[in-house]
């Protein structure tokens, strides 16, 4: 099970083999390899540092269990710490509020917001028997509103009728009004992609938040994200306030270190995983699976 990291730690294992308890020096040598493994998996550098410190504290002085080698002991500590840092098993979408419950979808360009909006709508409709309305506030990307409308038809979920020339804040207000008047349980608000450093567009999404008071603000991030995860997580969380993470393209072969970065920097749970382009490709988050993936095991 621990192949990837085990290989990397091979030599160090041999040196560690005959010791009774893990010394600071042994642990230090092993953790240098762990650091490289995490960076190669795209965990953000500040997160790698605090992770390594946490592991060090736990590992130094640990008695090595008789049944395993010291190297395996270090890996077990690393793995368990990673699972702990990734947070609990999936918490569902929070709908504990007066209907219609607004859910805001946020993220960088192309991260998978529109597709995830339709996937979540389908989930809430089929599993929770909710009456869902989707609205596209994306007036920028060519055919973005049409994209959501077509996805709505595919999952048989209503979409807010498109009014040409309307601005995103006005569309959001109209969506909530229609949601109230027509008795919807949930209103999913799909926003245009925006850079975390684009002040004008970040201000726009703050205005959208302020007129809709979302119960969930889900940050949609790509599993392939590199070190930029720091800026994305920090800016979206500080400016808009994130309540949960949706990680897409987990069906790819990326190691997915951004999951740990996002979780650590926002302090918010990873709620759902996008596992494909199809509209039913949405899964619950399991920390142990993602931990194994990050460590290459």
């Amino acid at each position: 099970m621990f192949d990837g990291l085990t290989g990397r730690l091979g030599d160090i294992f041999d040196r560690l083999r005959r010791r009774g308890a893990l010394s600071e020096e042994d642990v230090g040598a092993a953790l240098r390899e762990v650091r490289v493994a995490l960076l190669e998996a795209d965990v953000a550098l500040p997160v790698v540092k605090s992770f390594i410190n946490g592991v060090k504290e736990k590992a130094v002085g640990q008695e090595v269990l008789r049944s395993i080698t010291p190297g395996q002991m270090v890996i077990k500590i690393v793995h368990d710490h990673l699972v702990e840092m990734l947070g609990a098993e999936s918490e569902g979408i929070n709908l504990n509020a007066e209907a219609p419950v607004p859910v805001l979808m946020l993220g960088l360009q192309g991260s998978g917001k529109t597709t995830s909006t339709a996937k979540i709508a389908r989930l809430l409709k089929t599993r929770e028997k909710k009456k869902v309305l989707m609205a596209s506030l994306d007036t920028r990307r060519p055919a973005a509103q049409e994209q959501l409308r077509i996805l709505g038809e595919q999952v048989d979920v209503a979409t807010l009728p498109i009014v040409a020339g309307e601005d995103p804040v006005t569309i959001a207000q109209r969506a909530m009004r229609v949601g109230r008047l027509e008795g919807y349980d949930v209103v999913l608000l799909d926003t245009a992609g925006r850079l975390a450093i684009d002040e004008e567009l970040m201000d726009e999404v703050v205005r959208i938040r302020d007129v809709t008071h979302p119960v969930e603000s889900l940050l949609v991030v790509d599993a392939m994200t590199g070190q930029d995860a720091v800026t994305v997580a920090t800016n979206f969380n500080d400016k808009v306030g994130v309540t949960g993470i949706v990680m897409t393209r987990i069906d790819g072969d990326a190691r997915g270190g951004a999951a740990l970065s996002m979780r650590q920097i926002t302090g918010r749970p990873i709620k759902l995983l996008g596992t494909g382009e199809k509209i039913d490709a949405l899964e619950a988050f399991h920390p142990d699976r993602i931990a194994g993936r990050i460590l290459g095991m």
């Binding site: 490289v36 990307r141 049409e146 975390a196 392939m224 070190q227 720091v230």
Partner: protein
């Protein structure tokens, strides 16, 4: 700019700077190692240090900084645009169409993404913006058949360039990669020398997975040019350095926004400067 001795602490800081620009731990260690070899213990200002690093990186990148050159003997020159989902294929086509038309070329577009909802409409809007005819079918149609038809039409119309959009796909999905190969095979039935350029779009936000993307797309459909998109964001796209080293594929252009004019030539020196935090010219 106070000078100080180049010591381990400074080197570690520099290595971390490079890691945070997505160079990857190995490349970051290599570049700072080179610096240590030539300057360790010597008096050097922070700016000189960054200059040195930028120059080293620019040396790696200079050979791949080559604009897309159309071969006038092909009518049309066929450009197939491929890549992972959401990396900027369709938008890049729109930007290229504008650039090429400004250069006086007759440009045609093919809506080869017959999968994603509204992908066809998205390209059609880019066609309207740039005045380039778009060959399209309904969503769900066979992408290879569409590409075939588009090439025949563009050729009959005497087009200089045909830009073919494709659906986004992850490189580890064998079935989808096979479909891409089928598009290439079918294009060759019309013109055995086509596609003349196969462009892979890479998102600057992507970390080390870009290696796997380039490797597999190159192997499967002979990618011979790269575009790095979304460089207007906070991501620096440093993975490009090891990509240049390993694959040597030309980087034809960079994307710096969602607008029609947001395509720029790739400049090794200014890209390298921005990677190390020397912000000049960008």
């Amino acid at each position: 700019f106070t000078k100080r001795k180049l010591d381990d602490e400074t080197l570690e800081e520099l290595e971390e700077l490079l890691i945070q620009a997505d160079l990857g731990p190995a490349m970051a260690a290599r570049v700072t190692g080179d610096l240590a070899k030539s300057r360790f213990g010597k008096e050097i200002s922070p700016d000189e240090v960054k200059r040195f690093l930028a120059d080293e990186i620019a040396k790696v990148l200079a050979p791949v900084a080559r604009p897309l050159v159309l071969d006038g003997s092909h009518k049309p020159h066929v450009v197939l645009v491929v890549g992972v989902n959401g990396t900027g294929k369709t938008t890049t086509i729109g930007k290229y169409a504008r650039e090429l038309r400004d250069a006086g070329k007759v440009v045609w577009l093919a809506a080869g993404d017959t999968f994603r909802a509204a992908a066809v409409s998205q390209l059609q809007i880019w066609g309207e913006r740039t005045g380039a005819p778009v060959v399209a079918k309904e969503t769900g149609a066979d992408a290879a058949g569409l590409a075939y038809e588009a090439l025949e039409k563009a050729r009959a119309a005497g087009a200089d360039v045909l830009l073919i959009d494709t659906a986004g796909r992850l490189q580890n999905k064998q079935g989808l990669m096979e479909e891409l190969r089928k598009i290439v095979r079918v294009i060759k039935k019309v013109d055995p020398t086509a596609p003349h350029t196969t462009l892979l779009t890479l998102d600057a936000t992507t970390g080390q997975n870009a290696h796997s993307q380039v490797e597999v797309f190159k192997e499967m459909v002979s990618v011979n040019g790269l575009i790095l998109t979304k460089l207007d964001g906070s991501a620096r796209g440093g993975v490009l350095v090891s990509l240049a080293q390993k694959f040597g594929l030309p980087v034809h252009a960079i994307g710096v926004g969602e607008g029609i004019d947001d395509l720029r030539p790739f400049d090794a020196q200014s890209f390298a400067a921005s990677l190390v935090g020397l912000d000049e010219g960008r």
